[in-house]
Subunit: 245 residues, 2 copies
Amino acid sequence: MNDFTELIQRHRSIRRFKPDGITPEQLNAILRSAQAASTSSNVQAYSVIGVTDSAKKRELAVLAGDQKYVEQCPLFLVWCADLLRLRHACGKQGIEMVHGTMENFIVATVDVSLAAQNAAIAAESMGLGIVYIGGIRNQPREVTRLLQLPELVYPVFGMCIGYPDQDPMPRPRLPLAAVYHENAYSTASFDRAIDEYDVVMREYYRQRTGGKRDTSWSQEMGEKFRQAARKHMRAYLEEQGFGFE
Amino acid sequence: MNDFTELIQRHRSIRRFKPDGITPEQLNAILRSAQAASTSSNVQAYSVIGVTDSAKKRELAVLAGDQKYVEQCPLFLVWCADLLRLRHACGKQGIEMVHGTMENFIVATVDVSLAAQNAAIAAESMGLGIVYIGGIRNQPREVTRLLQLPELVYPVFGMCIGYPDQDPMPRPRLPLAAVYHENAYSTASFDRAIDEYDVVMREYYRQRTGGKRDTSWSQEMGEKFRQAARKHMRAYLEEQGFGFE
């Protein structure tokens, strides 16, 4: 372990923030760090909307499922997959971009994720806390209207950034044996790893809720995946001009 | 700038490695760092295959488009989006997982990307170098067979890790104005930003190739996107059991 891996492994999501703002220098360092991430063939297929306007943050907090910290955090970033700038670049060369492929959709979604994770680490290295907001996909059409997102751009997730006003414990992760495989995938460790993790997570939920929440990881996953979530995504993405050929 | 943002911003992909291997402790710290990344509702929808077997690395190098460093690097990681373990967890609860949605596909693809980027930073903090290998999607069926990837698992990208045996300059990025927007998306800066970047990148390509390569970013993007790439992805993903409803 060095200082870096220690910082990375200390990560926990922050959902309560002090009112102190982010300086322009901090924001710049966070964004430069994001840009330094690897990007598929240098396409840089993403854009970031920094939301500082209070009314917009308030509306986004509601759209994301009444997550108050979206409004409360000093800086809310909306990370978008973006093929529009690339189409523009192609247009400058008189070339019509072929964009409607699953491959391009994957590339843009990966690109924005790598950049965002660099931003998260950069922010945490400054003593800031972050939380990813997948709830930005709850009502993507409204988010699109609010942030004036054009075609070929979609909001993949949001990110609250600010100084932590809480100090939660990191959430335990699956046993490494369930996630890492050498030379070939194997399901051999699944049963035992999930059972072990269920015990760990039951204890974690109890501790975090003062004994009120009695559940396990596989129970939580069962509840989550027993129905389809965000069934609007495919149609929304097509409205935005994405294709999946 | 602090040590962390400096490290992050010094990133450049490494494509030539010393023979020195990665210790088990290093690998462990890299994987623990990966696991510490944020994950949508704690689903942890990814798996990592560490390829150390020489014959498999050699085959993967060919499959990824004859990228010699895939064979040469001491450790090659294949980062997979994974919904299978979740289906298994649901099964333990007697629940049939609904997995065939665009939303779940996005969640898994984002989850694996966040984890991988943590691994990249962790590796670089130890003096190691990395390069992402999107070429792993060139022939995904063969990769799937070679690594025995089951249904509901797909290889999103590879990653070479090892001690750098080269010291390339970081590749310049788009002007921040083209990537970052405050409160609403705007295309106003596109033209100027792309023109500026084209000049910077032309100079970068010239320097890197001793004057042999005379091209710009928008020229490269035009060449890349004038035809569809990896047109097999959609069908392959459906064969693996992914759905996009």
